[in-house]
Amino acid sequence: MYSKKVMEEFSNPANVGVVEDADGVGEVGSTIDGDIINISIKVKDNILEDVKFKTFGCVVAISTSSAVVKLAKGKTVDEAMALTNEDVISYLDGLPEGKDRCSGFALDALKMAINDYIHKNK
């Protein structure tokens, strides 16, 4: 059902955790719904130097979290804000039909973290 890439990201996720002294934090979801994605970022010279996630959720939630973090890391704030759902899905070689519920959550959490950073540094 899931692509190889999804299962790879799911079973060997990189960048799990919370960035120390985070410059921005985003969190999406709730226990009632069954998933929570937390993304924290460290920004230096307008670049996302470190990005980490903690996710409670399904295979899609975890694999997209890992993917979003990998995609965002090293990018400029603007580049990261320009990431799309399609970027994430294509990075994962697609997601199965009917499993799109969580696919946008990780990106939402990332953008929330960036907005948090922008807001704090205004």
Partner: protein, 385 residues
């Protein structure tokens, strides 16, 4: 990698004795049981034997067995079958934790103008018999309550409910798909008018089942055609499948006490070892009134599908009570009915044991589970709050 199957409530491997029994019926004794020639009569004799095997295993008469394509069709036939014989009786009583085969049959009947009362259960999954009795009306046509639940394994007080049904002269059906082969199932002891069975849950082939219909119970068919099964289920009989089902029922009855002791030992060991080695865990379903092969536990800070997939990668097959239907991550209607708390409801696993599982499998399962939970909790933002 060693693969361990612990999803016997979903389906079971066909027993090799069952396969052996079926094999001659593909290319040698292949006749249509309705044919008059010897190819046909050989097939008809095989059906008779299987009918007796199924009947004997549940204390019924052969003529009280209608072969169907499985548990789902049996449930449909039982509930929809009595409707035409109950002109004016348009009320059905069932429970909130029935299998979709019963629940969706009921919704279908609701769409045709019938009324259905869904009786609630307590936190262990036992039906509220008082509410059930109070919901009986003059126009109640049938009560359908499952013998044992497929998700949490809770066993219902069927004798009590059938007694109430009898008192009010209402047909009583039970879905025994999960209980056959695990606990004693005798139609007279249970006092039921109809009872559903599915072959593939008891080491028989898929696509076969039966509805027991007590002599004197009037039902009408839901599939029309050549009037097989005394007109109650048309369609050329699946001879090889029915032969396998018959054999599987015979074996289930023969091995019941041995199997249930074996499964109970494994079940109890699995439950206590999980409690011993993993924190923040709960057992779903009734602590004692549960199927010998059912372990349903919820783990905080770990989501069902993720657990299932990580376990699968370690060669262990289980099931979860939470499922994503794209628009929402739905908790199962059963776990919801048991009022499991939010933190636990999306993190449930059903480990359902089978005849061929061993204590070694339990060891392996506990190890794999520990690794899985550790990994997911390390990832969870909730675990350290």
């Amino acid at each position: 990698m060693k693969r361990i199957y612990m999803d016997h409530s979903a389906t079971t491997p066909v027993d090799s004795l069952v396969v052996d029994a079926m094999l001659p019926f593909f290319s040698e004794i292949f006749g249509n049981a309705s044919s008059l020639h010897s190819f046909g009569t050989e097939a008809a004799e095989a059906l008779s034997l299987a009918r007796k095997q199924v009947a004997d295993a549940i204390g019924a008469l052969p003529e009280e067995i209608i072969f169907t394509s499985g548990g789902t069709e049996s449930d449909n036939l039982a509930i929809r079958g009595v409707v035409p014989f109950n002109e004016g009786k348009k009320h059905i009583i069932t429970s909130v934790i029935e299998h979709p085969a019963v629940l969706n049959t009921c919704s279908f009947l609701e769409s045709l103008g019938h009324e259905v009362t869904y009786v609630p259960v307590d936190v262990d999954g036992i039906i509220d018999v008082k509410v059930l009795e109070e919901s009986i009306r003059k126009n109640t046509a049938i009560i359908s309550v499952m013998h044992a639940n497929n998700e949490v394994g809770t066993i219902q007080p069927i004798e009590e409910i059938s007694g109430i049904a009898k008192e009010h002269n209402i047909y009583f059906h039970t879905d025994a798909v999960q209980s056959v082969g695990k606990i004693p199932v005798n139609v007279d002891d249970l006092g039921v008018d109809m009872l559903s069975i599915s072959s593939h849950k008891i080491h028989g082939p898929k696509g076969v089942g039966a509805l027991y219909v007590r002599n004197g119970t009037n039902i009408s068919p839901i599939v029309f055609g050549g009037n097989h099964e005394k007109g109650m289920r048309s369609g050329t009989e699946n001879v090889s499948g029915i032969v396998g089902f018959g054999k599987a029922m015979e074996l289930a009855a023969e091995r019941l006490s041995e199997d249930s002791v074996h499964m109970t030992r494994m079940r109890d060991s699995l439950i206590s070892r999980v409690f011993d080695t993993i924190s923040d865990v709960r057992l779903n379903g009734h602590p004692s009134k549960r199927l010998p092969n059912n372990v349903n536990m919820s783990f905080k800070y770990a989501e069902g599908e993720s657990m299932l997939m990580l376990l699968d990668m370690q060669g262990v097959a289980v099931s979860t009570g939470s499922a994503c239907s794209s628009k929402s991550l739905k908790a199962s209607h059963v776990l919801s009915a048991l009022r499991i708390e939010d933190e636990f409801i999306h993190g449930s696993l059903r480990m359902s044991l089978g005849r061929e599982n061993t204590m070694d499998d339990i060891d392996h399962m506990v190890d794999a589970l520990q690794e899985t939970i550790t990994k997911l909790r390390a990832m969870s933002p909730l675990a350290d709050r």
